[in-house]
């Protein structure tokens, strides 16, 4: 009960920040996601009621844009860049290795809720290819060999 209330309160504040403006829906969802690391179902119904927007509209936005996740994410998100520059420098070997080492497929979260593995198409650091980004930190010029050590620093 208590948890639900604080959740509602947080979402309410976010909606307030944008004056309940329906055209700010993407920004609102981005803030909600930043708060909870994903978009909990309850928050979406709450937004729908509060802002008088059909839930289907909100789902449409939440599923259209790749930045949104409807599934809980781990403590750290590992974003493996599969942009062109990283691809030609062997980024697919990095993702293969991470999938093997973490025993999950791209898009999933480890059982201990530590890591979520995601593919992104270019982080804008193409000069440092291949790169991955973990919780906002960019790791440049990677080889698969270095991955286990880097991950250990995030536990």
């Amino acid at each position: 009960m208590k948890k639900a209330q604080t959740m509602d309160k947080k979402v309410k504040d976010i909606i307030k920040k944008y004056y309940g403006d329906k055209t700010a829906m993407i920004a609102i969802l981005q803030d909600v996601q930043e708060e909870f690391r994903y978009l909990p179902k309850e928050t979406l119904s709450f937004i729908s009621k509060k802002m008088d927007v059909p839930l289907t509209r909100i789902y449409e936005i939440a599923t259209f844009y790749n930045a949104f996740s409807l599934k809980p994410r781990g403590k750290h998100t590992i974003e493996v860049c599969l942009g062109t520059a990283c691809h030609v420098q062997g980024a697919s070997r990095l993702i293969d290795r991470l999938e093997r080492d973490l025993s999950i497929s791209s898009g999933d979260t480890t059982k201990d809720k530590m890591f979520t593995l995601e593919e992104v198409r270019c982080l804008g650091c193409c000069s440092l290819a291949p790169v991955i980004r973990i919780s906002g930190n960019v790791h440049p010029y990677l080889t698969q060999d270095e991955l286990p050590k880097i991950l250990r620093n995030y536990k």
């Binding site: 403006d21 329906k22 055209t23 700010a24 829906m25 993407i26 920004a27 969802l29 981005q30 449409e60 936005i61 259209f64 844009y65 790749n66 930045a67 949104f68 599969l82 942009g83 062109t84 520059a85 990283c86 691809h87 030609v88 420098q89 062997g90 070997r93 293969d96 290795r97 093997r100 992104v120 198409r121 270019c122 982080l123 804008g124 650091c125 193409c126 000069s127 440092l128 290819a129 790169v131 906002g136 960019v138 790791h139 440049p140 080889t143 698969q144 060999d145």
Partner: protein, 637 residues
Amino acid sequence: MSTIKTLEDLNKAAKRGLESIIPSKTKIMVGMSTSGLASGAQEVYDALAAEIKKRKLDVVLCKTSAMGMDCIEPLVEVIQPNRPRLAYSRMTAKKVPEVINQVAKGVVDGFKPTYRMDEEDYLCLNEKKPYFKGPLPNDVKDIPTISNVDFYKKQVKIATRNCGMINFESIDEYVAKGGYFSLYKALTQMKPEQIIDEIIASGLRGRGGGGFPAGVKWQTCRRAHGDIKYVLCNGDEGDPGAYMDRSVMEGDPHSIIEGMIIGAFAIGATDGFIYVRNEYPLAVANLQRALDQARAYGFLGNNIFNSGFNFDIKIGKGAGAFVCGESTALMTSLEGKAGEPRAKYIHTVEYGLWNRPSNLNNVETWANVPAIISRGAKWFSSIGCKNNSGTKVFSLVGKVNNIGLVEVPMGIPLKDIIYEIGGGIPGGKKFKAVQTGGPSGGCIPKSLEDISVDFDALWEAGSMMGSGGMIVMDETTCMVDIARYFIDFLEFESCGKCVPCREGVMRMNEILHDICGGKGRPGDIELLESMSKGIVDGALCALGSTAPNPVLSTLKYFRDEYTAHVRDKKCPAGVCKALIRFSVSDEKCTGCGVCLKKCPTECISGEKKKTHVIDQTECIKCGVCKESCKFDAIIVE
């Protein structure tokens, strides 16, 4: 900060800015763009701050962005009174005391700067200011000037004129470089039509990929009916492998803002939006700071420069959808909806954002505008080549020695970019092709390396200028795999609104997957070609109608590689996993055992100092053995 309404006020800000660009005491700058930070610039900055404090030196320490040569970051630059500006590359916290030693003594000895700058270009003022007077100090004589560094020799900087030169947190420094003087000129001395004529005469074409004449677009939007009009900036930069727009948004946000205000005045717009990609948090932060500063100075808001003109800009953040870079999708997304494109027979310059006339230009296009207004159309069109005025910024990445951002005059031969600026291909490998234009573009093979890099020539060669990604590939890049990569990207990014793109691209992807997976059938290549035609003709937006380009251009120049995959079940470049096998060279293997320890499936065996063997049944082709072998003894075939 008080508002700036007159030329006198503006000159005062410029004076303050100049004092902080070249102060009367020592100044140390650290390149803190996204790529600088990823290379460790923050640690270097902290170490510098600590060392300066420890030694109680009277030094200004500040941030700047990247000047382009990312492969030598973190970069630290030192400006001292009456000395040239010195650039120390590949800095680490460890090297900091040595650099500070040199700073304290005021001479270079030991650890050497990579290049020096004797003067600084103030492009918008048409002026060069020297860093020192009198003779060149002896200790720096053998350090090359920046114009002698291969990477910079052939570059001409207009859009990125201030990147890495000024502190992106300081509006005064931007003003000191001639910034907002163009705005003053436009608002107080020019009529909107005059500005549009100037932009048309300059020949500026949209830098977002299409190359549409910017001035003509402005004119149509000005003539469109409506009281409320918008100017928009496309900072979505979705092309994977491209980061020019990020660099300008991070390093010189005011150049975009000034360009947009001038454009808005010319068009008669009241509001502006900058649409920035979700993946660029630093760009958003730097743009937001710049907007606040511009508002505080009165460059945004009401009655700008007492001209009676009112205008303001907001930032809209994308949420990770490539298709939102397309003009109609971008506008739908700004309205807070799912960004699906719509048919373009209704032009956005007439019915765009919220169905009002809207003028969309790319980041780099806007950044060129202040320079054109200050230096004139004639100057701008004197740079570049026929029908392609000015410069273009490219992100030169992939298999090339000097990786980074380059701004070159249009019409430069491709080979100059690859071999001179880029310094050729690493590891003595052979240059194979360059990919331009992102997922809508294509590959230009080595046989066309003399091609002039401009909108029209690239288009004729089956590729595209695109927004400026230039990914260099060598003999170890498989062209079929590259085509598959782009089609895979586009299948993922297709919004699904129309059938040719949603279904067609998916089927093409399946065929390419089969070809790369060793399951190619005779006739597949022809099928790809005929499907391409259908998609080009039938798709609603340019994402779909250009989607087959990567396949068509690789087929045009590298058909034999496709044939090798389909008929011979071979991947000549050694990339496609299903078609290759790893083995150990008897000649080169020293039996050191490194690969044996690293192999995740433990399928490598062998005694110390004897040639190792890979068990083919267990090998998952992860490639770790090849990456870790110091003797290049792993054979891929």
